[in-house]
Amino acid sequence: MDPVSEITEIRKKTLMDSTILSRAIVDSFRKLEPRTMAKNPVMFVVEVAAVLTTVQLIWNSLHHAEQIGFGLQITLWLWFTVLFANFAEAMAEGRGKAQADTLRKARAETQARRLRGDAGIETVLSSKLRAGDVVVVSAGEFIPGDGEVIEGVASVDESAITGESAPVIRESGGDRSAVTGGTRVLSDEIKVRITSNPGETFLDRMIKLVEGAARQKTPNEIALNILLAGLTIIFLLAVVTLQPFAVYSGAPQNIFVLVSLLVCLIPTTIGGLLSAIGIAGMDRLIQRNVIAMSGRAVEASGDVDVLLLDKTGTITLGNRAATQFYPAPGIAETYLADAAQLASLADETPEGRSIVVLAKERYNLRGRDLAAHAANFIPFSAQTRMSGVDIDGREIRKGAPAAIARFVSPGGNDVPAELKTCVEEISNSGGTPLLVAENRRVLGAIALTDIVKGGMRERFEHLRAMGIRTMMITGDNPLTAAAIARQAGVDDFLAEARPEDKMALIKREQAKGKLVAMTGDGTNDAPALAQADVGVAMNTGTQAAKEAGNMVDLDSNPTKLIEIVEIGKQLLITRGALTTFSVANDVAKYFAIIPAMFAGAFPVLEVLNIMRLRTPESAILSAVIFNALIIIALIPLALRGVRYRPVGAAALLQRNLLIYGVGGIIAPFVGIKLIDMLLPYLGLA
């Protein structure tokens, strides 16, 4: 299978894929190693508890035979609890690991042709290349390392990394000069200056990231871990001191019961799923072809307050398009459209094509066979700043208002006053006016305007509901910028922006305590990308931009910033939801276990058994089983993430508190009762 389809295959892989599944099962046992477990305090306590009951079980079976069946079941379920948590983590890592395997193939050792100091060429292994070396890569060869094209143009197949099979153009100078090691040149020959040492290439980093090897705990995850460890210690205290109280009351408890209570009370649900949630969050980004250089960046994207969006390419389509014809007094609109279309037929620029299209759409004017008319095209030149056509004795020109004014003045004509106002209005509303003239007479104006991408207004509204401010960055003058900003529905704009203005803006917002996200591709974006809290570099961009940002979008789609923010938020929400759920679960578990512990000595305590569980053993076992199974049941949610809705915090909180808080209190009552009812049919208790 070639790498392209392999990568797309992996992205499509469902969670229940058999290879991922079987690898995860093996890994869940491998992760039982205590040093690995100790990184997760909650599950480490469960593992220690399981070891304790195992030892007690062995001792019991050697000395006396009471409670062997109950002890055995509790012990097994404790081990299952640990294994299920490990399994969750292994599942989350699964897709990344499969992807890493494929990426490794692309990293395979290749031969590189390195330029020597004396301009000769030597062949070396790609692993011997160092930053600063210059290599020559021809059609059919793999690019041996990350670098910058310093000479030549080539089409490059980057599918091994991006999964996108269409080749891309890489050329020296400008913003499309970066090439990635492991991609293949399809045509032509380029000279590449290598920018990274072996082991530090983009591919290497990507492999580490998708595999989770470079994963570090994010700030929120650390804080959450502290909370969970704290809760664990508190419940450890509650259970350890319960034994003296029980002894005082004349109802001492055995180790299986105490350990069961402990394991049920400590937040095992979130403790078991916490790292899986984090890994899955990174994975969701990777599925959208975004490589986050750190988990911290993913988390920060959820916290973003301000989005800086470049106008061109992000908010608007890359090019301006004709949107309206304004005929001069006494000229029919159709006539103007026809002339404009004729003048543009040979114009291959996007603007020119858009005029042809508009005329066709509005007046059903078709392109004509110009060869039959012996037409003569006048291409655009920097001197005249006009283009047009000479056809059937008609001399049609279109161009900037000043140029056309100069064109018509020898005929003693002027631009009509009405048209001058019209031209000003077009400029003021953010468009670019063009004038069309025939035989030194002005026919009318065409408005070229920025076309705001579909659905942007709604997305900005969603962002606003989430409390995120959007800010458009453009080199246009303030008037034009204001018009487009209004049209697109962004909250604010920065006009006539130079790179340093962008930087100053970011610093200003950050000084107010806000987190800023932006996208960029050019070398002059690099400082701002580095300064922003979330900087997404385009893969087509320069090496400098990719180095400066903390994420790289392999699709080079700047609009994706919005999705990244949503993924960041979803990650945090999932963590919060499962924490709340886990803590809320404790209420029911108390009502299952406490009466079971003491109803033997004090039958009156049976009233606390509000679930009416059958026997003390069954009650405790049901609680422990529920506690273990809930981890498995929530793996899909942890990996997929809680559904995110673009609404305000208050509404979101209310909804999530209802589902995960109130639901977290009720669910275990139902679950434990069901397990208690099922156990006799399974012959377990």
């Binding site: 909370l227 009351s249 307050d305 709340t580 208050a650």
Partner: protein
């Protein structure tokens, strides 16, 4: 339960609601060093104090220095009290010729009053001289309350200020708190109490002839019974009113007399009872308004108030219901409330207060870390007695002790914001301050210290002979007695369940240790959070910011308090009061 009883309870809450805003504004002005109507009188005194002590009132302190100043101040004050107790025999104002207080009791009492606990393992009227009561105990009632209040102010400043280390000057805050807040109100309060019949004198105890002498059977040391006719009674006197006002207003709770607010000289009339109740909640309630005002989010202040009011109503309802329901074992007697009988469980209650006011007092005194009592909590029904116990276990955050209630609630706010805050998809923020791992760590530490102290001391006491020796009833009631002692000490409440013989070496030292741990080891992590928050930027609010206002937040806060605060103690409670209640209904009592 009667309509009259409910009317009194709800009227009380209404009065608390009404005084919250004016008191909150007044305290804001005092601690922001803005103009108040008392400045003309107090400002010169304040300046004089600073001149005499060499305090630079313009210098602010970071949290570490502030905390050290507070600890030093408390340490020196505690030593002073210990010395007074140990030498009172030779000091003036000792008409009853009391001896010096024994070292364990003197230490325990010094710790107890320094920590605003006022746990009393002695009877005031037979142990402490007037000088000890005034210069030793009343002094601490003022300064320990001032310490609590200024710490709450520091926490509020930590939330409100941005990118600074400065949190105020301990000496200035404490001085202003004493001069502007505590002294004037207590002066007026004491006079109101005197008007109701609370005594204020230095007289020796009065011996009076009984109008109706009575004869009782007395069992002597030799086991023989003899009849004895009592014709005289000794009536204890003293400077009571001056200590009574601060006892409530500073949520101290240490009574002048052993009977505390059940004694007619401490709490003579229904009005004095109501007045004392208002004094207990006044500052804690007012501070919620100060919180809102200083942080610029008045609605947040009210949301915290609402959460507190809800927990208060829940507690008082449970206690009132349990006490009014009476004792099921007295099924033959008429326990209904009528115009002439209060009905319900009147054991250990004063007839002039009745069921409603006793249940209300028990709830209020344990919601706040006051610990004054007008009834014997030991004699409450098991569930009625569980309400004060749970109130203290929650950390006394239902209005709570002066200052301590607010900074205790602050810990729960931090935890609630952190747990649920993630659910809005942002790093949790509290009024624009990000809650990060350091803050969570300190908040968990505060909760841990409370849990650790209560559970560990109780667990040792229930299995060791020196612990078991103190209990007066076996079975679950005995467990409750021990639990209550450590809960009350750690929570700095100081109310006694009663029934526990606490004046032993074990209980004097361990309760003192619990009080010191529960006070100062709670304060240090909380101050650390305040310091950490003050250094942070304030993220401006937006639609995406976690809402800390409104009923949703109040509900969240209540749930966090109940789940984090109470669940830990559920196993112990189920073997104590819950079991006792169930056994009582099954006909078994202890």
């Amino acid at each position: 339960m009667t309509a009259n009883g409910w009317f009194q309870i709800l009227f009380y809450l209404l009065v608390i609601f009404l005084i919250t805003k004016p008191l909150g504004i007044f305290m804001t002005r005092v601690f922001n060093r803005e103009k108040t109507f008392l400045d003309f009188l107090l400002r010169p005194i304040e300046k004089l104090v600073y001149r005499l002590t060499g305090v630079d009132e313009s210098r602010e302190m970071p949290w570490t220095e502030y905390t050290i100043a507070m600890l030093l101040f408390s340490g020196v004050s505690m030593t002073l009290l210990y010395l007074i107790e140990r030498t009172q025999r030779w000091l003036p104002l000792n008409p009853q010729k009391f001896g010096n207080v024994d070292p364990p009791l003197a230490f325990g009492t010094a710790a107890s009053f320094t920590t605003n606990t006022n746990w009393q393992a002695y009877s005031g009227e037979s142990t402490m001289t007037y000088l000890t009561q005034m210069a030793g105990l009343s002094y601490h009632n003022f300064v320990s309350a001032a310490v609590g209040i200024v710490l709450a102010i520091v926490v509020i400043r930590g939330i409100a200020r941005r990118e600074t280390e400065n949190l105020g000057n301990f000496w200035v805050d404490a001085t202003r708190c004493l001069l502007w807040v505590l002294l004037p109100f207590c002066l007026v309060g004491a006079l109101v109490l005197v008007s109701q019949g609370v005594v204020q004198n230095f007289r020796p105890y009065t011996t009076v002839d009984l109008i109706q002498p009575y004869t009782a059977e007395v069992t002597g040391a030799d086991g023989k019974t003899a009849t004895q006719t009592v014709t005289q009674q000794i009536i204890a006197q003293g400077p009571v009113a001056s200590q009574e006002a601060i006892k409530e207003f500073g949520t101290n709770g240490g009574g002048f007399f052993n009977a505390n607010s059940a004694h007619p000289f401490e709490n003579p009339t229904p009005f004095s009872n109501f007045f004392e109740l208002v004094l207990i909640f006044a500052i804690p309630s007012g501070l919620t308004y100060t919180l809102g005002r200083m942080t610029g989010s008045q609605r947040h202040g009210w949301a915290v108030w609402a959460a507190m009011a809800f927990l208060f109503l829940a507690g008082v309802t449970a206690a009132y219901w349990a006490e009014a329901s009476g004792n099921p074992l007295l099924a033959g007697t008429d326990q209904r409330a009528t115009a002439f009988a209060s009905g319900g469980n009147m054991e250990g209650k004063e007839v002039r207060f009745g069921i409603a006011n006793s249940a209300l007092f028990a709830t209020v005194t344990t919601d706040a870390s006051c610990g004054a009592v007008n009834a014997q909590h030991d004699s409450f029904t098991p569930l009625g007695g569980m309400v004060p116990l749970i109130n203290i276990m929650l950390g006394e955050v239902v209005f709570g002790g002066v200052g301590a209630g607010l900074y205790g609630m602050f810990v729960f706010v931090v935890l609630a914001v952190f747990i649920a805050g993630l659910m809005v998809g942002r790093t949790p923020e509290y009024l624009g301050k990000k809650i990060e791992s350091y803050d969570v760590k300190m908040a968990m530490l505060a909760v841990l210290i409370l849990t650790f102290t209560i559970l560990c001391f109780s667990a040792i006491a229930v299995v060791k002979p020196y612990g078991l020796a103190g209990i007066s009833n076996p079975g679950p009631h005995g467990l409750t007695q021990i639990l209550y002692a450590y809960v009350s000490s750690t929570g700095n409440n100081g109310s006694a369940f009663g029934g526990l013989h606490a004046n032993t070496l074990w209980y004097n030292t361990t309760t003192a240790a619990a009080q010191l741990l529960g006070r100062f080891f709670m304060i240090i992590p909380i101050m650390a959070i305040a310091g950490s928050l003050a250094k942070k930027k304030i993220v401006p609010g937006s639609a995406g910011t976690f809402p800390v206002t409104g009923s949703l937040f109040s509900g969240l806060l209540v749930s966090t308090v109940l789940i984090v605060g109470a669940l830990t103690f559920f196993p112990a409670l189920s073997l104590g009061p819950i079991l006792e209640h169930l056994l009582m209904h099954a006909g078994k009592v202890f």
